[in-house]
């Protein structure tokens, strides 16, 4: 294939015969010329065409809910800091990539990068969404390579694993290794044991049995010493702290079983419990590994969300030049330059410049706020119209962030009291088991059995009561349910979150960004024509103001005009053929002072028309908010709305959604106090919120959830994060949490029923190694099978 123009295969034939964008398949509005719906699609398609990677269109599977990636500007981040040297003249970088749809995206990115002769290695890990690139040449090449990926429409930001993440990864690997060793040993010892058991009829000579026992010991003892370490360590830690946990009976049981078996084998006894001990360790490791993996995946996904939302700050150096720095490196007193459209990285005071900021993440306020020299600004606000200079004063204890962190810590301390169900069971279970074993020993001794036989029987009690099924009961359910939630875009971060969610009886929502989408949308025509919209969109494309962006979103195929002048807090002016066109506030367009209805609006004044036209916007409630809330009340949950926004806005949303209990104009401390009041009244609350101002309230609630668009502090505080525009995940997570809790109770009941049958047998000395193996494996498999039911899709 040569580089000449070749038709790009049509993506999808539009059903109604209208033209569709050749790149993303969105239906083109009538009369909008060209083959693409917007400049972003056109640019992405050009890159693909020039690289000759048409196969992408053949291979991909488009998700109708998530449009194809559109070209984006390269991130304004200093990539060099994240580049590391590998060998002479070779450099590499790790990135998190957002916007992947299917395997074709992976193929496209990897192939495009590998086409470059300097690139030595490019691999995208689909599970973790991490892209690692290595190339021969200067570290500065990173910008060009990453730029190519963003030009295709994917977002890519550098990924730096923090120590906690690295430690978790290492622990997970160690656990998997231990699991492999235990699995190998369990399989082989079990094979030998089956031979021994089938020989108990008398066909097997004693020498052969001893040989098989010794081989079992040879396999099982080193494997136990290696694979049992996670339990021994945890049990030791608990004992040192004067507590007891599930690992104490496990460790004692396993060690005792090994010791007794060894002494039995040494004196040519008929019974050895090596198979029970190692199978037990294998099953327990399986539970622990699955549990860690489910949690680790949700946590690493949450970390990636944060990496994608994190930005970069431009610090003004001593020489007056701006240098890009990591927001974490900022110190009080630093001077910051914040360009239009950038997120403010630290709390500060405006030194120079006038602009407006979007404070919705910080305060919940939906309208942009004007700022001028002297105004306090907070980390998380977005500068909208023109550059401002800030002095950082984040160290002051009076800053909002410091206040939020303080409230957050106080609220989290309250929540740390929740003890996981499994731990509560273990606390009660461990002493009972130990006492039981001791009584058995004493009882057999008193009944006249020899000390050796008494110890042997006491040990079988410990082995048979080893909480194998009990230890699997909770993690197996958690793994299955959090996996099911993960597939629906819900990340469960906290290990006890499902338990707490199942107890919830009241759901408290924040407004902006939680019940609503947190971004304004144009209301269908009230007096403007398509021509007005296109002209307005062409001007608006030059501005980062949320209303301008909303206007451009309504007509994304319009190319921006050049030469607009932005008046911060007022509007945009553009000198066209017929005269100056103005797009902005009432006053800016010469219609007089704003009314007091406080609607989200911009006006378009055209020299060739007499009266300006008005575009009105709303921050729409999430598309399924109404039915979701109805669904929740039908299930008996009480619903409340706590908003930091002004009263009329909160009232409008509350009445639109039929929420009776609502309060507006609340500070973060107010929200915490109200949640505490609810808790004192005996209510278990689920707090759903997205703003920085909600973070303490999230920690104060019995359980918490936030959308993936939330501020990073908020995501950190939340127990679970849901992705996408829909509110439905809130119902899904509550449903699945309840189902999980039911399954956990069933599993605990199964495990206890098993014990009720097995313990008397063991105490009476009837448990042979064969019986122990069947009972233990059987109960574990039963519990796992029951847990699998949690993954089935919810009946809707």
């Amino acid at each position: 294939m040569s580089g000449d123009a070749r038709e790009i295969p049509l993506v999808a034939a539009p059903a109604d015969g209208a033209a569709a964008c050749l790149h993303c398949g969105t239906a083109l509005p009538e009369g909008a010329g060209g083959n693409y719906c917007c400049a972003g699609c056109e640019a992405a398609a050009r890159v693909i065409r020039e690289a000759g990677l048409f196969d992408y269109y053949r291979r991909r599977v488009l998700d109708p809910d998530a449009p194809a990636p559109r070209s984006q500007a390269a991130p304004g981040i200093d990539l060099n800091r994240h580049v590391r040297a590998i060998g002479e003249g070779r450099h590499g970088i790790e990135l998190v990539v957002d916007g992947l749809h299917c395997a074709a995206c992976v193929w496209l990115i990897e192939t495009l990068l590998r086409r470059d002769p300097r690139v030595r290695h490019a691999r995208l890990n689909v599970s973790t969404r991490r892209l690692s690139i290595a190339w021969d040449g200067a570290p500065e090449l990173a910008r060009e390579l990453v730029g190519r990926v963003t030009l295709l429409g994917y977002r890519a930001v550098p990924y730096t694993a923090d120590n906690a993440a690295r430690l978790e990864e290492r622990e997970e690997r160690a656990l998997l290794r231990a699991l492999a060793v235990a699995g190998f040993a369990a399989g082989n010892v079990m094979l030998l044991s089956i031979a021994v058991w089938s020989g108990h009829g008398g066909e097997m000579g004693q020498a052969t049995r001893d040989l098989l026992h010794w081989v079992s010991a040879l396999i099982a003892l080193p494997a136990l010493a290696y694979a049992g370490q996670p339990f021994f360590r945890s049990a030791l830690q608990a004992l040192r702290a004067g507590r007891t946990n599930m690992d104490v009976p496990v460790s004692i049981g396993v060690l005792l079983a090994a010791a007794i078996s060894l002494s039995e084998v040494a004196r040519s006894g008929p019974h050895a419990y090596f198979d029970s001990a190692i199978t037990l360790v294998f099953f327990l490791l399986l539970g622990r590994y699955l549990e860690r993996r489910a949690r680790g995946r949700a946590r690493s996904a949450a970390r990636h969300l944060l990496a994608l939302s994190g930005g970069i700050a431009s610090r003004i150096g001593a020489d007056g030049a701006a240098e890009p720095v990591d927001p974490a490196e900022l110190r009080p007193g630093d001077r910051l330059m914040v360009a239009a459209g950038e997120r403010i990285a630290a709390d500060g005071t405006v030194l120079a410049g006038r602009s407006s900021v979007d404070a919705s993440l910080v305060t919940g306020e939906s309208l942009p706020q004007p700022v001028a020299p002297g105004t306090r600004t907070f980390a998380g606000m977005v500068n909208l119209s023109s550059p401002i200079e800030l002095r950082v004063d984040a160290a002051g204890t009076g800053t909002l962030l410091a206040e939020i962190v303080r409230l957050l810590e106080a609220a989290e301390q309250g929540n740390a009291r929740h003890v996981a169900l499994a731990d509560r069971v273990a606390r009660a279970y461990a002493p009972v088991v130990h006492v039981l074993a001791l009584l058995t020993f004493a009882g057999w001794l008193a009944a006249g059995a020899g000390p050796h036989m008494a110890v042997l029987i006491a040990a079988t009690v410990l082995i048979i009561t080893c909480p194998c099924a009990l230890a699997l009961a909770v993690p197996a359910v958690q793994v299955v349910v959090s996996g099911a939630l993960y597939r629906r875009g819900i990340l469960v971060k906290s290990p006890t979150a499902l338990e707490r969610l199942a107890e919830v009886d009241t759901v408290v929502f924040d407004k902006t960004g939680t019940l609503t989408l947190g971004r304004p949308e144009l209301i269908a025509s009230d007096g403007w024509s398509r021509e007005d919209l296109e002209l307005g969109a062409a001007l608006a494309a030059n501005s980062r103001h949320p209303l301008s962006r909303a206007l451009h979103r309504a007509a994304p195929y319009v190319a921006p005009v050049t030469g607009t002048v932005e008046h911060p807090g007022e509007g945009l002016a553009w000198r066209g053929q017929a005269g100056t066109v103005r797009l902005g506030s009432r006053r800016f367009c010469g219609i007089g002072e704003p009314g007091d209805d406080e609607a989200l609006e911009i006006w378009l004044a055209r020299p060739d028309r007499s009266a300006p036209v008005r575009f009105t916007f709303v921050d729409p409630v999430r598309p399924d908010a109404r039915e979701t809330l109805a669904e929740l009340s039908r299930r008996g949950y009480r619903i409340a709305l706590l908003s930091g926004d002004r009263e009329p806005v909160a009232r409008a949303v509350a009445s639109a959604l039929g929420i009776a209990a609502w309060q507006a104009g609340l500070t973060p401390a107010d929200k915490c106090r109200l949640l505490d009041d609810l808790a004192r009244a005996g209510r278990r609350t689920l707090m759903a919120g997205d703003g920085l101002n909600d973070a303490p309230a999230l920690a104060a609630g019995h359980a918490s959830i936030s959308p993936a668009s939330a501020a990073d502090v908020t995501q950190t505080a939340a127990d679970a994060i849901f992705q996408g525009d829909r509110l439905r995940p809130v119902v899904a997570i509550l449903d699945l949490a309840q189902r999980a809790q039911r399954l956990v109770w069933q599993n605990l009941a199964l495990a206890l029923a098993y014990n009720a049958i097995a313990i008397p047998l063991a105490v009476l000395g009837h448990v042979t190694p064969l019986l122990a193996a069947i009972a233990m494996s059987g109960s574990s498999l039963l519990v796992i099978a029951n847990a699998m039911r949690g993954g089935r899709s919810a009946p809707s």
Binding site: M1, G52, L53, F54, D55, R59, C102, A103, V106, W107, T111, R114, R115, L124, N125, V126, S127, T128, R173, L176, R177, A180, V181, F184, G187, N188, L191, L192, G205, T208, L211, L212, V215, I219
Partner: protein, 56 residues
């Protein structure tokens, strides 16, 4: 029964071989991207490398 004397070591050796294979696969990162491995098999490298795109 003397067959056991060499059959058991052989069985153990084979088992250990499997264990070693698993540990090697783990160390070389083959369990790092289980979701990707399933779809990668569908990429035909013929049309994705430089030579292949000329041919097309």
């Amino acid at each position: 029964m003397s067959g056991l004397l060499y059959l058991i070591p052989i069985a153990l050796f084979l088992g250990l071989l499997g264990l070693a294979g698993f540990l090697w696969a783990m160390r070389s990162g083959q369990f790092d991207d289980l979701d990707g491995a399933g779809s990668r098999i569908l990429f035909d490298e013929d049309s994705s490398d430089r030579k292949g795109s000329e041919k097309e």
